[in-house]
Symmetry: C2
Subunit: 85 residues, 2 copies
């Protein structure tokens, strides 16, 4: 799955920390990861409690089968740098 967030500055750190528990940070406000249905439900419940629904936005894309999807990176692959540094 892919998760992208756009939340108020005050909530960024909490959201980031929560997402990191379940997913891999890949770019600025983007996470990727394989997640069970149960954990996805849990993550969504927890995020729902954190966000301001009239200010923040989180979009979650899930895929039945990654076989049909493709990922291309232009420029640096920040996550790898993040791991190295």
């Amino acid at each position: 799955m892919i998760l992208v967030y756009d939340v108020g500055e005050k909530r960024v750190n909490k959201i980031l920390k929560k997402c990191r528990q379940y997913l891999t940070w890949v770019q600025n406000s983007v996470f990727e990861g394989e997640i069970t249905e149960g954990n996805l439900k849990k993550l969504k419940m927890e995020l729902n409690r954190m966000i301001k629904p009239n200010e923040d936005s989180i979009i979650i894309y899930t895929f039945q089968n990654t076989k049909y999807s493709n990922r291309q990176v232009m420029g640096i692959n920040k996550n790898y740098l993040d791991i190295i540094v």
Copy 2:
């Protein structure tokens, strides 16, 4: 397809403008859209010329069939607001 970018402040406006030519802006640094293979190639070439490969990062996710993908929004759906305002 989904396009996410994380680029230096100086290049944000140019990248944004370029992506808007082909895709729909949905959140902070996220675009979505259906795009032909020819236009994707063109967009990638143009973005490649704009980014600093050792500082910026753009990830493009493409899907053979959107039938297998799902999109969930939590909080506001910024793009719709954007269209209304």
